[in-house]
């Protein structure tokens, strides 16, 4: 290809580089950077290896990050981090192709410190996280793909990258590689085989719109933001949700749909997104906005049941790589941050005994179990199978709710008493009472 490749670098250049690290973190997303930052601040020598040209370059997210978990790792981050808007309004829409029932919650205290959540551009936010890790003393190594783990007497002893002289040793490797958890598999820790039923495909567009227009259309105070979650016929009746988040002068709009349902229905996610954008109530919000970027990403939705073994000899797994996404509240970044921090704290505790074997690192699992990370994941362990097996939640029910609302609100020559009868009839014709009861019961069992 080119003659410059694979020439060894001159010896002089490597003089001051440590030949090994206490800890290697694979992946510079929220999980990896939380771990790297926590370790570096504690004075541990840690290298974080990221395949992208900078942290954030490969990341995309809807996306809202939450103050509380984020500030546990990066105290008062909102004073400095590049954030888009603090979210003061959260909406839930049940939408059909031409109508919508909107539930909206707005709170003034979401608009003051410490805030509740923020919309972020991951490309900028992750870069900032990486800068914090560097400032704390970590070694951020980008454009470096980790291809395998090094093993010594059965334990993980480092990583192999694709670069010349690309092996690097460490006492512990923290795998924070995100949803395509190839190294987790190589480490023999994976529990579910990668399966289309356990991941959602999200596609997202970023559309540019002047700041004032955004605040006008979404009815927001200057600087405040809205996050809208949408379910209904707009995902083509497939199990999935749509979302709109307001950034400073852009809007993120996208849909996430379980991958196997796309495969089964021979649909493409972007076709769904295109239809979604045509929905009249939505179209009004994004009218005249010009496309800036387009991206697609997977989200692990297997939940608690598909979590890999979280620790092994010399190795820990955190974030999306460990399947830590709560599919109901679409929270992943906060679980990633918290699990990354706990992985780091586990390593710090184990360093005191100088032991990094399975038994010692099992502390990580115990910490996670006492935290919201595993408690939330356990709570919703049945959510994804439930949603996948109840497509009526995404098609029929929102459709029916809208039909009932329409009938109820339409004034015509039907008396109100007759209208009630009609509504009831309409409802029963669509959903037999037994079915409704069963769905409610299933929902209660798997979501509460």
């Amino acid at each position: 290809m080119n003659s410059g490749k694979n020439k060894p670098a001159p010896a002089g250049a490597a003089e001051s580089a440590p030949a090994r690290f206490d800890v290697i973190v694979v992946g510079g997303g929220p999980a990896g950077l939380a771990a790297t930052f926590t370790l570096a601040r504690a004075g541990v020598s840690v290298a974080c290896l990221e395949r992208g040209s900078w942290s954030g370059s490969k990341n995309m997210m809807g996306g809202v990050i939450y103050s509380h978990p984020t500030s546990r790792v990066f105290p008062q981050f909102w004073r400095e981090a590049p954030l888009e808007r603090h979210v003061t309004r959260r909406d839930m829409w049940f939408a059909t192709t031409d109508s919508a029932i909107k539930a909206s919650f707005e709170s003034a205290d979401f608009g003051v410190e410490p805030y509740n959540s923020f919309t972020v551009y991951r490309a900028r936010f992750d870069k900032w996280l990486a800068a914090q890790a560097t400032a704390a003393g970590a070694w951020m190594i980008t454009e470096t793909l980790v291809e395998d783990l090094l093993r010594e007497d059965g334990r993980v002893a480092g990583i192999r990258s694709g670069r010349p002289q690309g092996d690097l040793e460490a006492d512990v490797v923290i795998i924070a590689e995100g949803v395509n958890s190839f190294l987790t598999e190589r480490a023999g820790l994976a529990s579910c085989p990668p399966q289309a039923a356990n991941v959602a495909l999200a596609v997202k567009e970023v559309l540019a719109l002047p700041k004032e227009k955004i605040e006008d259309r979404f009815d927001l105070e200057p600087g405040a933001g809205a996050a809208i979650e949408i379910i209904g016929e707009i995902t083509g009746g497939l199990p999935g949700t749509g979302f709109i988040y307001t950034n400073r002068d852009t809007i993120s709009i996208g849909v996430g749909v379980l991958l196997n349902s796309l495969v089964d229905n021979v649909t493409e996610a972007y076709t769904i997104l295109d239809k979604f954008k045509q929905q009249p109530q939505l179209r009004r919000l994004i009218q005249g906005a010009s496309p800036r970027e387009y991206s697609a990403h997977l989200i692990p939705e297997g939940g608690y049941r598909c979590m890999p073994q979280l620790y092994g000899d010399g190795v820990l797994v955190a974030g999306d790589a460990a399947g830590m996404v709560n599919p109901i509240n679409s929270e992943g970044a906060n679980l990633a941050l918290l699990s990354g921090q706990m992985a780091a704290e586990t390593v710090l505790a184990c360093r005191q005994q100088g032991r990094f074997d399975r038994a010692a690192l099992a502390l990580y699992q115990r910490r996670l179990e006492r935290s919201v990370v595993i408690q939330d994941l356990k709570k919703y362990e049945n959510a994804t199978p439930f949603l996948a097996s109840h497509p009526q939640l995404f098609g029929l029910y929102p459709e029916l709710m809208a039909a009932l609302a329409r009938e109820f609100l339409t004034v015509d020559n039907l008396s109100k008493a007759n209208k009630e009868k009609l509504l009831l009839k309409l409802f029963r014709s669509q959903v037999p009472a037994r079915r409704l009861l069963k769905d409610l019961y299933d929902a209660w069992r798997s979501l509460t």
């Binding site: 080119n2 003659s3 410059g4 490749k5 694979n6 020439k7 060894p8 670098a9 001159p10 002089g12 250049a13 490597a14 003089e15 001051s16 580089a17 440590p18 030949a19 290298a47 900078w54 560097t134 070694w139 951020m140 190594i141 454009e143 470096t144 990258s161 670069r163 010349p164 002289q165 690309g166 092996d167 690097l168 800036r292």
Partner: protein
């Protein structure tokens, strides 16, 4: 005897992602990631391979906004020994005249420092490398301008640097011309601009990257250089852009297709087509 070289690196918008505003004709740079000018990386590789052979010291030098630090940091990963960024509002808006003025002052400062530290050949800076041009400005003037200001000899459009003779202080190189190549020899100190025929940049080793991760990128302001402020940046730039336009897209060529026709028939119809357009076609030997 080791060689002390300076490689000039420009941060440019990643042109694979640049659009032209159809109304103003100017580049839409907003939100476009920056990369190192690709020709400058050929220059860096040329400097690195000379250092591989002869030893020496390489300083990567850039003038640009604070974000240009990232591009310079990459050069440290590839193996540059030192990185210097000229960053100051006073440098902004510079054309090639003002750019070479600031860069030359920086090269002089680097040379003076190397003499004190006894780096390289002991004669200051021996070679300044540049890419043959930048992909955003396309002027190709910075290398020659530097040579002139520093009173260095110059070798432009070098496609292969053959030999560095330290005793005689001479370099020998192939220079790319439109109609071929010429073999040239020049006296050091020399400014060399390189083309894409030189080796592309090496894949940095992991230890190289690790070493680079913590090396500082030095930032120099106008006050750090021996310069007159009036000759820097916009003030020092006589060039005025009077008009910018996007070149009209080239028309697509016509493709002849004739399913079921023989090659001979196709050639005949091509021949007729050309003759229709008034092209005189001479037949070989005819």
């Amino acid at each position: 005897m080791p060689i002390n070289s300076v490689v000039c690196i420009k941060q440019v918008p990643d042109t694979s992602q640049v659009r032209i505003d159809p109304e103003t004709g100017s580049l839409v740079r907003q939100g476009i990631p920056s990369v190192a000018n690709p020709y400058d990386l050929y220059a860096l590789e040329t400097a690195l391979s000379i250092r591989d052979r002869h030893g020496g010291f390489i300083t990567a030098l850039s003038m640009g906004p604070p974000q240009a630090e990232e591009v310079l940091r990459k050069t440290l990963g590839y193996g540059a020994d030192r990185a210097v960024l000229l960053s100051d509002r006073a440098f902004a808006g510079a054309d090639t005249l003002a750019t070479t003025y600031a860069l030359a002052a920086a090269v002089e400062k680097i040379a003076a420092g190397s003499l004190v530290a006894n780096i390289g050949s002991g004669k200051g800076v021996d070679i300044v490398f540049c890419g043959k041009q930048s992909i955003d400005g396309d002027t190709g003037q910075v290398g020659p301008g530097l040579a002139r200001r520093l009173s260095f000899s110059q070798l432009t459009y070098v496609c292969s640097l053959l030999e560095v003779d330290l005793k005689a202080m001479r370099v020998k190189a192939w220079r790319q011309r439109e109609d071929g190549r010429e073999l040239l020899q020049a006296q050091m100190p020399v400014a060399v601009t390189v083309t894409e025929q030189c080796s592309s940049i090496r894949y940095a080793s992991l230890p190289g990257l690790i070493a680079a991760a913590k090396k500082p990128v030095e930032v120099w302001s106008a006050a750090d250089l021996n310069v007159e402020r009036g000759r820097l940046g916009l003030k020092g730039s006589p060039t005025r852009v009077s008009k910018i336009f996007a070149p009209p897209a080239r028309q697509r060529g016509e493709a002849l297709s004739g399913p079921g026709k023989s090659a001979g028939e196709m050639a005949a119809s091509l021949f007729d087509r050309l003759a229709d357009r008034g092209l005189k076609i001479g037949r070989r030997g005819g």
